[in-house]
């Protein structure tokens, strides 16, 4: 008699557990069968099988033994791709980023326009670091219940690389899987890169101009080089030496595997490529709308480029009587041809949504393909290239045994007019696209990273 309730409790517990496991993760392996499989890293399989287990891809091929306990997903008439990667995003991060406040711990107060009682220092010393929060990490700020995670996933993305976006040195990004459950579970790699903007902050503050920002970034980079020397010298022989000051901003920069610098038009791309070479830091450029003009230069430099899928548009509030310049018109016309030009030149590039709503990403891609980008290159840019750029190509970005089970299953083919997304797998968990939420008012207004500076 006394065992029964306990047993019941156990059974109930097990059933519940089983139920939750079914919901969260199918017990045992999953097999996708009968689909066309675009592995990206290898040839396309016209009728292939992809076997997933424990969140990883176990096997892929035309003849794969499907274990008896596998949950078979019939994917006839569908195409399986690696899960798409949005290479620069704010998805998963809180919408209003924390303002960089007490960043300058030892420095004199920031000049605030209109504040007569704060004397502006004549000189800004080495510790003056305006708009700099290099140490902030996206991985620390994750909000798994961000509604956008689901929205982004529903359009085929299994991963985003999310970055803090405020200030000049905004902080370190993280390569995230869009599982949206546990914070820790979402992070694939962190830090992923230091997000840098060239935003100047108006005439009243330093830096107030583009050349001021560039000079500032250069100085910080040189300071980082020097700091390293100082630390090394001190570490090797601390006795009798003055110890170096702890410099949080520089520490944050030194931890960074790469810098992300904005470069939208051709002259900026040219500038930033040279700047990267001067700073001698691994760099990734983002923006790229006018790269079609200098695709060969970009390719030759070896600097990867994240192309913003939010193609330039006619401003909604334009004066209809004002004629736009040829330069502006030409950019709007030619920007979507940038990916094709980059492909042709052999440059390394990936895509990011840049403020385009998740569902408009497809339209944006279509424009690029209409302008000459091959579908294969489009898929690669959305998957393996992004993974390579962020140094995680060994674990994600293509359909290969051992890699993370991030997959996209599309009825038809991804670039079909009528393509329908059937499932997205993230870490081996199957998700179905959710019905579209009603448009929220702030979609247009929210500034996304990688916008035109």
């Amino acid at each position: 008699m006394p065992l029964y309730p306990t047993a019941m409790k156990h059974v109930t517990a097990m059933l519940l557990a089983a139920a939750s496991l079914t919901y969260a993760q199918a017990p045992g392996p999953i097999a996708l069968r009968g689909a066309r499989v675009v592995t990206v890293s290898g040839p396309v399989l016209e009728k292939g099988i992809v076997l997933l287990r424990n969140g990883l891809i176990e096997a892929v091929g035309e003849n794969v033994d499907i274990p008896k306990d596998a949950w078979v997903v019939d994917a006839q008439g569908a195409t399986v791709y690696p899960g798409l990667i949005d290479a620069l995003s704010t998805v998963g991060l809180p919408e209003t980023p924390a303002q960089p406040t007490a960043a300058r711990t030892e420095t004199p107060a920031t000049p605030r326009f209109g504040a007569q009682d704060l004397p502006v220092p004549l000189e800004q010393g080495p510790q003056f670091r305006p708009f700099t929060t290099t140490w902030v990490r996206a991985a620390d700020l994750l909000n798994p219940s961000d509604r956008r995670i689901e929205e982004t996933r529903s359009v085929g993305f299994s991963s985003v690389v999310a970055f803090p976006s405020a200030g000049i040195f905004a902080g370190e990004g993280a390569f995230l899987n869009l599982s949206g459950e546990k914070q820790g579970r979402m992070v694939v790699a962190s830090p992923a890169g230091q997000y840098v903007t060239l935003a100047s902050h108006g005439f009243g503050t330093y830096p107030g101009s583009l050349m001021g920002v560039i000079a500032y970034i250069r100085q910080v980079s040189f300071d980082a080089d020097h700091y390293k020397l100082e630390l090394q010298a001190y570490a090797s022989h601390p006795v009798g030496q003055k110890r170096p000051n702890y410099d949080r901003a520089v520490e944050g920069l030194l931890e960074s595997p790469r810098l992300l610098l904005p470069a939208d038009d051709a002259k900026q791309l040219d500038r930033m490529i040279r700047f990267a070479a001067e700073l001698k830091r691994p760099t990734v450029l983002y923006g790229g709308h006018q790269a079609y003009k200098i695709a060969d230069l970009v390719a030759k430099s070896g600097v990867p480029l994240l192309v913003n899928l939010k193609w330039p548009e006619k401003p909604k509030d334009a004066d209809p009587d004002r004629e736009e310049s040829f330069r502006t018109l030409e950019l709007r016309d030619r920007a979507p041809s940038t990916p094709a030009a980059l492909e042709k030149a052999g440059a390394r590039f990936a895509f990011y949504s840049g403020g385009t709503s998740a569902k408009d990403v497809r339209k944006a891609l279509k424009r690029a393909i209409d302008a000459g980008l091959t579908e294969a290159a489009a898929v690669r840019a959305l998957t393996l290239s992004a993974a390579e750029i962020y140094g995680v190509a060994d674990r994600v970005g293509s359909i290969e045994p051992g890699k993370i089970a991030n997959l996209l299953v599309v009825k038809g083919s991804l670039f079909d007019e009528k393509a329908k997304i059937q499932y997205v797998f993230v870490d081996g968990v199957k998700y179905e696209p959710v019905p579209e939420t009603p448009p929220s008012g702030d979609r247009e207004g929210r500034s996304a990273p990688g916008g035109v500076e």
């Binding site: 004397p119 004549l122 009243g204 107030g208 101009s209 583009l210 050349m211 000079a215 002259k267 500038r271």
Partner: protein, 458 residues
């Protein structure tokens, strides 16, 4: 659309004609500026003037430009301009020597082409006048169509901008002057301006010493790490060592003298006083220093410190032995520096040659590039402007401009290309309109049904 791309390439393509050409400009009135004026021809090869004289043999295969009835002079040099740069001022700090025009060169600026069409071949692009010590300058050639690096005047001495007077004081205060009380940023008086400059140069001296001490250690094979690089002080050390020219924006006679004294105290010379509208009052002192003046022809009265400006400034300075150039500080004025030069004849009686020197050989000397440009002499760069009438006439217009022997501006060609350009623009506008209409008429494509689909395995 691809065809349009090909048509557009010339806009980007380096030159209208290949570089290593041999060219003869023939039958013109050649105004060399330094070696007189004559009827004759100029032989150009590999971007340089090989010969200029009354009788010049035309080599086989040379491109011949018949300039009969026309006037050739050296390409005009503008010693003070702010075109072709994406930033002009870094005004929030009193010393912004860490910034530089070289970081923000804008090769797409249409004002480059417009300057070219006004006969300018070289310009000194300066930081603005918001701070006592401003940013680094860049000498550029107007090589329209080249990228940023392609505009740089190779080998020109680096420069930096200093500024004195009202602009500097005003930059500190909110609301931009008009009797406002001293504002946010020091300095707010001419006294403060001097202080800022002295302090910065003093710091630079200390920084220089740091590096010398370090170098001494290294020479003694001692352990040492180099000092932290201070990008603000490095250009100032170069100034102290005579390796970077100072171009100082100034107006009042007293502030000019102040700056000359400061430079003396620190052991260097100011290269040019920019604007220097009251320089005529202290011409003697300026001449004794060997400092040059680069000024306007006749602007005055727009600011208090410009109230004593006179159009005779250039002439007085020339008579007192100062090296003088006329500049524009304006994308518009830049287009007619030839007629601005004529004003120095009207106001002060300079000769034709003296007047034309103000916009050719003199600014070349001020910028330290006179071995390359500024006059028509064998060995110099083939930077030449052809006018249809005498350049000092208001009726003259520029027909052709050569830089490094390449034809960068050709009025005839410009006129021919206009209908094509308009047509291309119209085609883009029409294309976009058609696209908009199509979007409006087409119903929204069926959304991906995000609802559950039967048939998928479960």
């Amino acid at each position: 659309m691809k065809r349009f791309v090909l048509f557009l390439l010339p806009l980007l393509e380096a030159t209208l004609l290949p570089a290593a050409q041999t060219t003869v400009i023939r039958n013109a009135t050649v105004i060399t500026v330094t070696k007189g004026t004559f009827q004759g021809s100029i032989l150009i090869r590999d971007g340089k003037i090989v010969e200029a004289g009354e009788k010049v043999l035309v080599p086989d295969g040379a491109r011949v430009i018949d300039a009969g009835g026309q006037f050739v002079m050296p390409g005009i040099i503008d010693c003070h301009s702010h075109i072709a740069a994406d930033s002009i001022n870094e005004g929030a700090v009193a010393v912004s020597s860490m910034v530089g025009i070289e970081d923000v060169i804008n090769p797409d600026d249409i004002d480059i082409y417009r300057a070219l069409a006004g006969g300018v071949t070289t310009a000194n692009i300066l930081h603005g006048s918001a701070n006592p010590i401003g940013g680094k300058c860049q000498v550029m050639k107007m090589r329209w169509g080249k990228d940023a690096q392609g505009l740089i005047f190779e080998g020109a001495m680096p420069g930096i901008k200093f500024a004195l007077g009202e602009n500097v004081k005003r930059s500190g205060s909110p609301g931009n002057g008009f009797g406002a009380s001293p504002g946010l940023r020091y300095p707010a008086s001419r006294m403060g301006v001097e202080d800022v400059i002295r302090e910065a140069l003093t710091e630079a001296r200390a920084y220089q010493k740091e590096w010398r001490d370090y170098q001494a250690k290294v020479d003694r094979h001692e352990q040492a790490i180099p000092p932290r690089r201070d990008l603000k002080l490095e250009p100032l050390v170069e100034v102290l060592e005579g390796k970077r020219y100072v171009h100082a924006h100034c107006y009042r006679a007293d502030e000019i003298l102040m700056l000359l004294r400061v430079a003396d105290d620190f052991g260097f010379k100011i290269r040019t006083l920019q604007h220097g509208l009251e320089a005529y009052k202290v011409a003697r002192e300026i001449a004794a220093e060997g400092t040059g003046v680069s000024t306007f022809s006749d602007w005055w009265a727009y600011k208090a410190e410009a109230f004593d400006a006179i159009p005779y400034n250039a002439a007085i300075l020339v008579r007192k032995g100062v090296l003088v150039s006329l500049n524009s500080d304006s994308a518009e004025l830049m287009r007619h520096l030839n007629t601005e030069a004529a004003k120095a004849m009207k106001y002060g009686g300079l000769s034709e040659t003296e007047a034309l020197s103000l916009v050719t050989i003199n600014p070349a000397k001020q910028l330290g590039i006179e071995n390359r440009v500024g006059s028509i002499e064998p060995g110099k760069d083939a930077d030449l402007t052809i006018f249809d009438k005498h350049p000092l006439s208001n009726y003259a217009k520029v027909e052709k401009v050569f830089i490094d022997g390449d034809l960068y501006f050709d009025r005839e060609k410009d006129l021919e290309e206009r209908p094509g350009k308009e047509a291309r623009k119209k085609a883009l506008i029409d294309k976009e309109k058609a696209q908009e209409n199509k979007e409006r008429k087409k119903p929204e494509p069926a959304e991906d049904k995000k609802t559950e689909e039967p048939g998928g395995a479960q």
